[in-house]
Amino acid sequence: MINVGIAGFGQSKFVTKRTDVTFPELVKEGADLTLADAGIPIEDVDAFVYPLAPDALIGVSQGERWVIDALGASGKPFMRVNNGGATGMSAVLTAWTHIASGMFDVVLVAGADRVSESGSAQSVLNKMWDTGYERTVPLNTITMLALSAQRYMHLYDSTEADMALVTVKNRAHAALNPNAHLRTPITVEEVLASRTLAWPIKLGDACPASTGAAGVVLVSERYAKAHGLTPAWIRGIGQNTETFWMGNRVGPTAASDHGDADALAVAFQVAYTQAGITDPRSQIDVAEIYSPFSSVELHVIEAAGLADKGKAPLALSQGKFALGSDGPIVNPSGGVLCTNPIAVTGTIRVGEAANQVRNRAGAYQVPGARVAVASAIGGDHQFYSTMVLSTDLEEI
């Protein structure tokens, strides 16, 4: 198989609203920033993979048509990927396949989102559920994860204060990231005092609706060598999927529990096996993992093998996973909890992980980081993507 690397990562500064650009102009910003970061001209891009989540979020059907010229894709192969919240990372995995197969040398993944332009986002997301059995109940992405958070608390005797520890850590990290959306540090008390959205999830446990653009450019080893590039190398990838039915993820005969992320743990293991990671806690320096709500980060840390099941809160309370602590650092960028432009959120996880192992993460650089893991989640905790990256191609 051909080695593939991340040669560049571009992202705009994330905010609630932008009025200076159209959606395609915002996508062009993502493409331009990414190619400029890599020093790769648009002429060298062989193919494009474009991440875009549900059309209704941007208010344009077949939104991929709208951005062809913004990406510079006219006259070249192009593919749209939509895996809900995992979209931005599934697109990167698709691009990896494009290059690993030997088909292409340079593939650009770039896109944007502007979630706040529709005040109806949760109404759009409510349309994910079964028309017969579930749509008479107002489920949405907040309630579905409130249910998961409640089960996690029940299974592991955890509390809302445990969830707050995640927000406190990530906001402190985001304060160091000039592109992050929510950058104000917060205390456990402030998170606990914030208003309830869907119990136990409060405003302080929730991600913002972000506007901005991002992208990564993937290259073959052959292209990297010919052009003197030092990309972050993709050492392992994983994907896994969970049943559609939330009600099938609970009870004594169920294959998984909605309070855990068991299917994601499998996806991590697949990537770890490819990369030669047998002890994630000692071999991984950085994790950029997808968690739009504080509660999600707890079971994703565990699925990634960075803590035992139910033990992420204890580790967090001991200061683990925060910049400056020993062991793997989790979401040094501030993560999804501080910045969530849905279509490219997964792309940013890969880009941030790549920047870490390339020692280019600035104020939130993990010193000496060589091995990073990234992950994303889409749908109703349903589509899982994972990736291991490293500075070099030596044994991990």
């Binding site: 571009g10 705009s12 500064k13 009025t19 200076d20 910003e29 331009d32 920033l33 400029a36 209704a56 208010g59 005040g119 109806s120 949760q122 109404s123 409510n126 028309t131 017969g132 059995y133 579930e134 749509r135 008479t136 109940v137 107002p138 489920l139 949405n140 907040i142 309630t143 409130a146 249910l147 998961s148 409640q150 089960r151 029940h154 000039p178 592109n179 208003r195 309830t196 959205l197 869907a198 119990w199 136990p200 049943t243 559609f244 039915w245 939330m246 009600g247 099938n248 609970v250 009870g251 005969t253 169920a254 294959a255 909605h258 309070g259």
Partner: protein, 165 residues
């Protein structure tokens, strides 16, 4: 941090007030629910919750024509109990555009004889005080299925209420 890529704007551009395009999507659908779901809905009008048995012997509730674990067709119709326990729940206090006004409580309930949980509203619980509400719908709480007196032929024809209230 300035964005080196961003197009430089002229003074006239910077001074122009932003212009917006507003739209509303109002789309109509009439979805066939299929014979399995239709039978389940008919069951609601008879005061019954119906499931289907998988080849492995699990009872899927609500009834589904195929099993998500084995990919094989389900067989026998099973009438499960109208009592059960809450296995996950939440109380919503935030208003979301296009969705009902809060507060409301939602739960997945494992009915007696079922292997999967059924989602529905929880009614008959005082929701104004969060701490009381959360306790009243805690995991493990016994609930009873209630059926609408005038069925609409949809999943809105049932809901849960705490048992013994």
């Amino acid at each position: 941090m300035t964005n080196p890529i961003q197009q430089e704007q002229t003074e006239a551009q910077k001074n122009a007030s932003p212009v917006f395009f507003e739209q509303t999507w109002d789309l109509e659908y009439r979805h066939a629910l299929g014979s399995t779901t239709s039978r389940f809905m008919q069951g609601l009008t008879e005061g019954k919750i119906l499931g289907r048995k998988t080849t492995k012997g699990r009872v899927l509730v609500p009834a589904r024509s195929f099993d998500d674990e084995t990919h094989s067709a389900t067989g026998e119709w099973i009438e499960v109990g109208t009592t059960g326990k809450i296995v996950m729940s939440t109380v919503v206090y935030e208003p979301f555009r296009g969705l009902p006004a809060p507060p409301y409580a939602i739960a997945y309930v494992m009915l007696e004889g079922a292997d999967t949980a059924l989602v529905g509203y929880v009614r008959g619980v005082e929701l104004s005080d969060q701490a009381t509400a959360v306790k009243a719908i805690a995991i493990g709480t016994d609930v009873v299925v209630h059926f609408a007196a005038k069925p609409t032929g949809t999943a809105a024809d049932y809901w849960f209420e705490p048992a013994g209230v």
